[in-house]
Every structure is written in C-alpha cells, then in structure tokens.
Symmetry: C2
Subunit: 205 residues, 2 copies
C-alpha cells in the first residue's frame, strides 16, 4: 500500500502483479532472494525490496512532483525517526494481538500496546494537518495503510480508536481525501470481513 | 560507534558524554523521550536519535566530504537494503546467543544464524573493497562496529569467522586501516574481556 500511494502521489503509472504467498512466483523469488517477501518494485528491470526503501526510491527517482521528505537535514531526521517508530510499533503483528485473540488478558495487552504507540504518534502529530506539517509525506505514507485496519480492530477489540486518539482519526480521514490514498486503501468493512475469515482459520471464534 | 565513525569520516569534531544505562541522565531522557536509548547526537541544541538516522543526518549536513551514499537512486536503494539487512541480522542480541550460552544446542543455533547472515553479506560484498565499491560508505559504517566482536564470539563459540567468511574478515581489516574506524573500534581483546565479565554476570560460566 505504501508503494502504491507513493507512486500515485508522483503520478507514476504501474502494473500490479498479485502474489500467492503459499506458492510464490519465480519472479518474486528471483527479485527478492534474501527476504522472499512482497512488495517488490520493479523499475527498469531492477527489483527493489522493502516498502520504505521503495518509497525513498520513488521519491528520489520522480523528482518533478513534491518530495515526501523536507529539504533540511534536521526535519529529514525527524521524519525518518517517526516513520521508523510507526513502522516498528503499528504493525500487522501488533494488530494480530487484538484480532487474533478472544476477549481476555492477551487481547487487552494488545489493545494497550497499540493505543500506547498510537498516542505517542498522536502527540507528535498534534494540530498539524500531516506529520510533516502542511505537506503529505514520508511518515503519512508509512502509517496510513494501517488506518484501514482501525475498524476491524475496534470491532474485534470492542473499543473506539477515535475516543482514544481523535487527532489520528481526523488525520486518517484527511489522508483518505487524497486520490492516492483513496485509490489504494481497501474499505474498512472489507478488511473486517477478511479479519473475520482469518479469525476462523486461526480458530479464534 | 556508527555515529563516531561517520563524524570522523566527515572530519567533524565532537564531545562524547558516556551514559550510565542503569542511571540515565536527565539529558538523555529529555533528548530521546520515546526510546530513552543511546546514542543521541546533539547538534545545534537539537537531539537526533537512532544511529542510522544520525549517520544519514551527518551525511546530509556535512556535504563537503564524500557522501556515504551514491548519487543514483538505484544504488542508494541497494545500500539502504544492505544496511537494513546488516542492522537487523548482525546484532548485539544475535551475538548474545553465542557468548550468552555455554557450548550446546542454543549456542550452535546462535552460531548458525550469525554465520548464515554473515555469508549473505559476504556474497553481496564479493570482491569489492567496500560494500558500495571503492568508496567506504553507509553499509560499511552500519556493519563495521560488529567486526570488533568477532574475536570474542570466536573464543566463546570455538569457531573461526575467517574460515567461514574470509572476504568479510579481509573487509574488516581494510576498514580498520581507516583512521575513522581505528579511532572508534575497541580492541578485540578488550571486547573479549568485557564479554567474559558479562558471562560471569549472566552466570554462563
């Protein structure tokens, strides 16, 4: 999602090839032999792995559109710090502690960890439109895919993200007004239905 | 160590303030309130956290000396990929699986993981002088501090890194010929003595 949003922000056309992760293609194994993971971005026949490295590559390759990172080194370091924090703390694995458990101690622990990290991000966001200020950028691209999971986490965990982190939710709504994000993020209801299927597979319900 | 090497490569003078990690200073807690971790780089009264973000900051701030990253986006992505790989796989925690265990299954597992990752890096290095080619750069700065641990790991784990990864060891020796690295890395024997103390504290011996 990060890669698609970045490409769409830059107005770059691309083709998507979905992968069956239980039966990975030769192209994937050849393109990312170290991690064997999606996403891989292939540009000029050269594969680039790891979503945040792809976003930086896209930013440095298509320089006509606005940059995702500010120009001064200090603001760049700040953006990299918060992108790294969001990447490490707001994750699929973190979300799974909520939807992958029935009500109880483990799920409560998952909710606590998730909301603690999100509140740190909310404090950093403050009253700005985006993490970098007025410009949608690197930290926003890193975090916003997870916004489409909020509804599923709320339903599974019986809590309200908006009650705990109103500024983050307002930020998410602001991001979704952008074509790049709207065209990329799945509908919240669809994510929830997929999570319900995963809960069945993992025997949570 | 990464931060010191980067500053020395750029010819920047700096002062070091050591931290007692069992009694962290007010300055550390104020400068890195999120992670409360060293190292923190303070420049123009502004704190910057996370060593790899510091290295990028140093590279972008002192631009008179050679850049740590190449200029073309594709080579930059490659450097970022391998720095990320080295950072994640060759770590204090990984080394601890070797020195933090007596001879036995757990230690063998630690050796296997360490050497597997190091061999991936050895394959990427190939016959180049440095990871980026002829220029000492971002991946070298990320990985080389760990070179000072090799001797301690070899002694604790009863194996030879050079027998398994001769090109990596030759690369390490090449790096240590640079003033920036020589002035930063502790002597291997000193690291080993500290590891022996840690083994006593953790009750390994």
């Amino acid at each position: 999602m990060r890669t698609k949003i970045a490409l769409r922000e830059k107005g770059v056309e691309f083709e998507v090839q979905e992968e069956d992760l239980w039966n990975k293609s030769e192209l994937l194994l050849k393109s990312n032999p170290v991690h064997k993971k999606v996403p891989v971005l292939i540009h000029n026949d050269t594969p680039i792995s790891e979503s945040l490295i792809q976003v930086q590559y896209i930013d440095e390759t298509w320089t006509d559109a606005a940059s995702f990172l500010p120009t001064d080194p200090q603001s760049r370091a700040t953006a990299r710090f918060w992108a790294d924090f969001a990447d490490k703390t707001i994750s699929f694995e973190g979300g799974k502690k909520i939807w992958g458990n029935k009500k109880g101690e483990e799920q409560e622990k998952g909710k606590k960890e998730f909301l603690e990290s999100l509140k740190v991000l909310e404090a950093e966001l403050g009253d700005k439109s985006y993490f970098g200020g007025e410009t949608f950028g690197y930290v926003d691209i890193t975090l916003v895919p997870f916004y489409s999971w909020f509804y599923a986490l709320e339903k599974c965990g019986d809590f309200s993200v908006e009650a705990e982190c109103p500024k983050i939710v307002a930020w998410g709504k602001r991001c979704v007004e952008r074509n790049s994000v709207a065209a990329t993020l799945p509908e919240s209801e669809k994510v929830y239905q997929q999570v319900l299927k995963l809960r069945q597979i993992f025997g949570v319900e």
